[in-house]
Amino acid sequence: MAAVIETHELTKIYGRQKAVDHLTFEVRQGEIFGFLGPNGAGKTTTILMLLGLSEPTSGSSHVLGFDPVREPLKVKERVGFMPENVGFYDDMTGRANLQYVARLNSLPDSVSKKRIDDALEKVKLANEANKPVGAYSRGMRQRLGIAEVLIKNPKLIILDEPTMGLDPEGINSTLDLIKLLSVEEGISILLCSHLLHQTQKVCDRVGILNQGSLVAKGTIEELARDGIQLAAPAAGQAEGTTLSLEDIYMRYFQEE
């Protein structure tokens, strides 16, 4: 399988602090890659470098075959990015917000109308599309954010903490939607989160990031196996039990 994201020794240093430290990983075509780690682990910094919004101190990366440092516009044309706390123009309607993004992507209005309708249908906001975004609930804003990402027909979607601040129902519907996009449309997804038990439901593979470097990566089963080998099983936990991602995660950080 071809890789949609490839990084090689990607490093970002802010002042004296290493935000991202020689990070090498890849996201394959069509998979959902969970990019996990505690707050401040360097997840957002990595994303910003992948989108060409921030320049790496050293190392290189390729997104859909383009170098984000050299050709940021080509990357941004093809990659849908939903930032943490996605923002909208509150006085504009949901549809108008999407229309604006479509225009920024230089889509002609004839094309964008259909895409907007489709995207709104997919995130179940078709009935709310003509209300100002200021009146939306948090869950609706999050779904509108996903609709916005879909407008440009991306091959790759990067989601930064898409479930933050949502109620359980909202979390489930968001995750279902993400799964659906991956399965039905074949879109590759990079999902950033610090909430592990949620992401393990949808991710094909995960990478665990701590203090700027990748401490583990692989499928959840692989990690569970390695996790057992890495540390002695905790008291009361029988050998061979499948660990949840949470357990794996805790193990890695207990070792610190």
Binding site: Y14, T44, T45, L48, L51, L53, S54, L73, K74, K76, E77, V79, F81, P83, N85, V86, G87, F88, Y89, D90, D91, Y100, V101, R103, L104, N105, S106, E148
Partner: protein, 314 residues
Amino acid sequence: MFTIFRKEIADHFNSTRFLILLCLVVCVALLTTYTVSMNLRSEISGGAKIEYLFLMLFTTSGQFFSLTQFIAFFGPLIGIIMGFDAINRERSAGTLSKLLSQPVYRDAIINAKFLAGIVTIAIMFASLVLLLSGLGMVAIGVVPSGQEAARLAVYMLISIAYVGFWLGMAILFSIILRSIGTAALASVALWIFVSFFVGFGSGLIADVVAPADQNNPEMMLKNARIAAAIGRVSPVNLYSDATSTIMDPYRKTTKSFVLVGPMERISMSRFNNPLSLLQSILVVAPYLTTLVALTAVCFAVSYLVFMRQEVRSI
């Protein structure tokens, strides 16, 4: 960039604050023009028509101030109100990172915002001047000559550059300062500083450096020169000097005479002919250039800061 520009323009015209501002400016302008035209009418009725009467609509004061004074004082506020939250509102609403992740160049955002502000200001001024000219024509029954119309056009350009400077200043603050409130206060503080304190300060400093001595004309001249030089730091002074020369063809220089003897005064009034438009423009050209340069510097600094800002903080 055109997309952002279009949205920004629409935002300006839809926003409540722009409407309030426009209402305020139009009300004051109408009122002033009305009182001025009434005064002019009673003063000149019966006499021969004065040359450049039409321009006097804008330069003579009505109840409290003339229209040009009003714009000199109030114009900065228009610029500030339109620019103080240009970037940091997007930042705090989270729309800036979204905007930046779309396939647009980063400078397109700031260019479009600045341009949209300038165009809005230009539309506002153009409609204001046209409206007042129409009102003036009806009220005093005088049609502006070509010369006067041209002077009005130049006046408009200077005013746009002037308000544009304040717009650039406000946008700069909105980039540097994270909080919308702080940015607004900083711009207003700067405005008050250059409007009032530079005026007081220049006199004070001049008195310290070269105390004015009634019996020593050279010292008095030096004092006045220093005061004027310091005053020129302020765009408000630049603007009022420039516009008063443009709007009053009888003013041949932006400088005020310190000492004029009675004989000189007589000889000056004997040769008191209006300057041609080109000559007036020549007199104010340095002022205009400085204003435009200040605006350009403001914009350039904003541009650089914005382009270099780490996205992390966005």
